[in-house]
């Protein structure tokens, strides 16, 4: 099975106008790929469905806005993939 990173990159390429080959592990979803908040909602919806989880994007955004977490923690591709893997693992653990 493809890695979470690859699956998320595929979702972003399918959901937005970003070419798949421009999406790297170090791409910042907002700053480098130019995904706006509305497109990001579509991407989160596709991720929720693909992975069977509920990405807590509201809490993430609040943490970033409050300065409790750097944006890179959630919005750089490799970190986003790691967060998704954590959510999938947490769900599997019940």
């Amino acid at each position: 099975m493809a890695s979470a990173l690859d699956r998320i990159a595929d979702i972003i390429a399918e959901t937005s106008d970003v070419p798949r080959d421009k999406i790297t592990p170090d791409s910042h979803v907002i700053e480098d790929l130019g995904i706006d908040s509305l497109d990001f909602l579509d991407i989160v919806f596709a991720i929720d469905k693909a992975f069977g989880i509920k990405v807590p994007v509201e809490a993430w955004t609040q943490e970033v806005n409050n300065g409790a977490a750097p944006a890179e923690q959630y919005f750089v591709m490799k970190n986003l993939a790691a967060r998704i893997e954590e959510l999938v693992a947490a769900k599997a653990a019940g």
Partner: protein, 154 residues
């Protein structure tokens, strides 16, 4: 329906946490029909989208126990299959497709006399009410159309 006041839903006939069914009767006359279209009055497609969005919105308000307000943020795959003329009785339905973090997705449809009129997939941002006046207005609208304002039990 009071098109010029954006009151699209007349009555909720059934609602649960995942689906809603409602009725809306197109008025015989409205200023909207003076422009859309002279001599050939039709409900504009954008107002049919609004009608589906309001049914979806009431579904979400009910689901959230009026703790959050849904704001339309996306319309996909909207299809308008038939004209809607004055005095048509519309059946409006919406089902929850996904309840995400700070957003929700529904599928909504309108039919009349069993005939499909239109359908669409709708995305909403869901936020805490930004003003108490808005929450009060939405609760008043809910009371008008017979939507329970407590949290759903099933």
């Amino acid at each position: 329906m009071r098109l010029e006041y954006f009151q699209m839903i007349d009555r909720v006939s059934e609602v649960g946490p995942e689906a809603i069914a409602a009725e809306a009767v197109v008025p015989a006359e409205s200023p909207v029909f003076e422009g859309h279209f002279p001599g050939h009055p039709l409900v504009p497609g954008v107002l049919l989208v609004e009608t589906m969005a309001q049914a979806s919105g009431y579904l979400l308000l009910h689901r959230f126990g009026f703790a959050r307000m849904p704001f339309l943020s996306g319309v996909k795959e909207a299809k308008f299959r038939s004209f809607v003329v004055p005095e048509t009785r519309l059946e409006v339905t919406a089902t929850l497709e996904h309840d995400g973090s700070g957003y929700a997705v529904t599928k909504a449809a309108i039919s009349a006399g069993g005939k499909r009129i239109c359908d669409a997939a709708l995305t909403f941002r869901t936020l805490p009410f930004p003003a108490p006046e808005l929450e009060a207005a939405m609760r008043a609208q809910a009371a008008r159309i017979g939507l329970p304002t407590g949290r759903p039990t099933a």
